[in-house]
Point group: C2
Chain length 318, copies 2
Amino acid sequence: MSEPISYSNPLSKKNTNHYDDLEFKVVEVPNSCAIDQILIRLAINIMQGGGHRYGAFLDAAMTAAKFAIYTTYLSEGKNFRKTGLLHHVEPKRVKTIVQEVESALTEGKLLKTLASQEPYYLIYLPHLWLKKYPWTPPQPRLPMIGLTREEKLEVEASLPNDLPNALVLTEFQFMELIELLHLESQKDSSEAHRVPLSDALIEHIKLRLLYSGTVVQIQSPRGFPFYCLARTSYSPQDKRERIYTMFEDVDGFFQLLQAWVNKEPGVLRGLEVFEVPIERKEEALQELDKLIQAWADKYHQEGGQPMVLHLATGPVKR
Amino acid sequence: MSEPISYSNPLSKKNTNHYDDLEFKVVEVPNSCAIDQILIRLAINIMQGGGHRYGAFLDAAMTAAKFAIYTTYLSEGKNFRKTGLLHHVEPKRVKTIVQEVESALTEGKLLKTLASQEPYYLIYLPHLWLKKYPWTPPQPRLPMIGLTREEKLEVEASLPNDLPNALVLTEFQFMELIELLHLESQKDSSEAHRVPLSDALIEHIKLRLLYSGTVVQIQSPRGFPFYCLARTSYSPQDKRERIYTMFEDVDGFFQLLQAWVNKEPGVLRGLEVFEVPIERKEEALQELDKLIQAWADKYHQEGGQPMVLHLATGPVKR
DNA sequence: GCGAGGTCCTCCGCCCCTCAG
DNA sequence: CTGAGGGGCGGAGGACCTCGC
C-alpha cells in the first residue's frame, strides 16, 4: 500500500482555512439513489473544497453529458435524429454538440471542463504574486503610499509570521493580479463561451482567496486595505495531494467496477462488512496492508499483464 | 468477497439489447482531470446505460450543486450574500435555492433527482403491461382489430419465443400505457417543474423501450404496427443488479476516501500496481479473495466497530 | 426514414442598480 | 454588511412546423 494508516486527530486542524473539513453530514436528500449521492459528493468537493464556481460545475456536468451524446452519435452511425431521440435532444442540438466535441478533439478548442481540482485563477495566484512582486528582506514590504513611517511600522507589526517572500499589495495591485489570472485562464477557451470578468466575479474570487487563507486582508490606519500573500499555494499542499489522489482513485475504482459489470475477465470486486473491536483496529489495518502488499509481491512478475488494485476500508458512517 | 471472479466471454452477449456493453473507449477529452472523467462515466452510465433523458442528468447535477450551496448556506450562518459570493451565485438565487431544498426536506416536494438507475417510466412499463393486459394461454394474444384469421396466424407466427404472458397491444394501447406511466412518474414532483408529455418525449420513450429489447414492434400485414412485451423487466435483471451494486460501491468507496482525505482515524487506503502472468491470474484473484475473507473473519467480532471494505482489481486500461 | 431550416416559450446563469435596516 | 426589491441580456432546454431527399 502506498499510504500508511492515518490516525491524525481531526481537532488538530486549527488552520484559518474554512474548508478544511468537508465531512458533510449529508442531510439525506429525499428520493435520491447512490448516483445522486455520488453527484452530491462531487458537487460539494468541487464547489466547497475546490472553490469552483457554481456555473463551472454545471458546465462540467453538461460537457460530460455532451460527451455521452457524442459517443452515442458515433455508435449509432452518425445519425443525428436517432441520437437525439435516444437522449431526448433535438437533432439540431445534437449537431452543434457533435461539432463542439469534434472541434475540441481535432482543433484545440477546449470544452468547459473543470480541468483541475481548483480553478486556475485560484491556484496560480501565489505563483504570479511571488513572480511579479517578490520581496527581498532588506527592502520594505509595504508599498510606498501615503503613510507615515509610524503607520508603516504599525501595519508591518500586524502582519502574520511565516509569510512568503512577497510584497504587500494595494487594492489596485491585488485586483490587477486577479484580472491577469482570469484573462490567462481563458486564453485557450473558444471565445464563444468566455466568462467576462465582472465585479461580482472579482468579489467571488477575492472572497475565495481570503476564506482559503491564501491571502490576508489588512486594514491600514487610513482606511484603505492592503493585501498580503499568506501561503505559497492556494490550499495546503498535502491536502491538495490527498484530494487529487481521492479523485484518481474513485475514477480508477469506477472504471474497474464498470469492467466488473460487463463481466470482463480477470476482474475481482470485493465487499466486506464486519465489526472490529476498537483495540484491535490498528493491528487489523496494518495486517491488511501487509497482506495485500505481500500478495501483490508474490504474483508480480515483470512482463505480465498490468493490473491495478484499489482498496479502501474504514468505519461505516450513518 | 460476495462476488465470484468473472471470466465470462464478452462475445457471449448476443442479446438484442443494444446497451449491453458500455465499455466506452473514452476518446480522451482534452483538458480534463479525474473529476471530469468521473462525470463522464456517470453521464454515460446514466444516459446510455440507464436510459435517462439528457435533461434529467443535467437536472440531477444541478440538484447536487444546489444541495452543495444549501450546506454552505447552513455552515455560513444562513447568510444569503456570503453564500452567493462563495459560489458566485446571486443572493436572490441562493434564496430560492434554499427555499427549494428546505421545502424538499420538510414538506414532500421532490427535487429533480434521478431517483434510480433507470427512469420510472421505463422500469415500470413491463409491470403495468402485465397487470393491465395479462394473457392467459387459451385466449388469443392479438387484439381484435380488423385482421383476417390468416393474418392473425401470420402475425402470431412471427412473434418471438419465450414471451411474458401479456397481450399484444395496438399503437393506441401502447401509447396509453406510456402516458399513464409518465403521469404517475410525476405525480410527486412539485408542479412547478413538471415535464409535459410531448410528442418528442413519447417518441424518445418508445425508442428506448424498443432499443432495450423490452418491447418488440411487429409490422402487421395492414401496415399499422403492433407492440409486444418481450421481457418482464426493462433491463436484464442480473445486469441491473450489477449496475446498482457498482453505484453503491463507488459511493461507499468515495465516502471512505473522503474520510481518508480528512485523516479520520481507522481509515486505510490501498493502491497496488503490478503485473501478473496471465496463466497465474485466476489463481491470484482467487487467493486474494480468500485472503481478504480470512482477514475479515479473523478480526470480526460482534459488537465491535462496524467497518466496511471495498476492493476492486483488474487489468489496467489504456 | 433522414438532414436542414425556421419560430416560439421559458428558465436561469449572470450582469447591474437602489433602498431600508 | 445584510436582505429585498427592481430591470435586463443571452444561452439553451424543450416543443413545434415545413421542405427536400
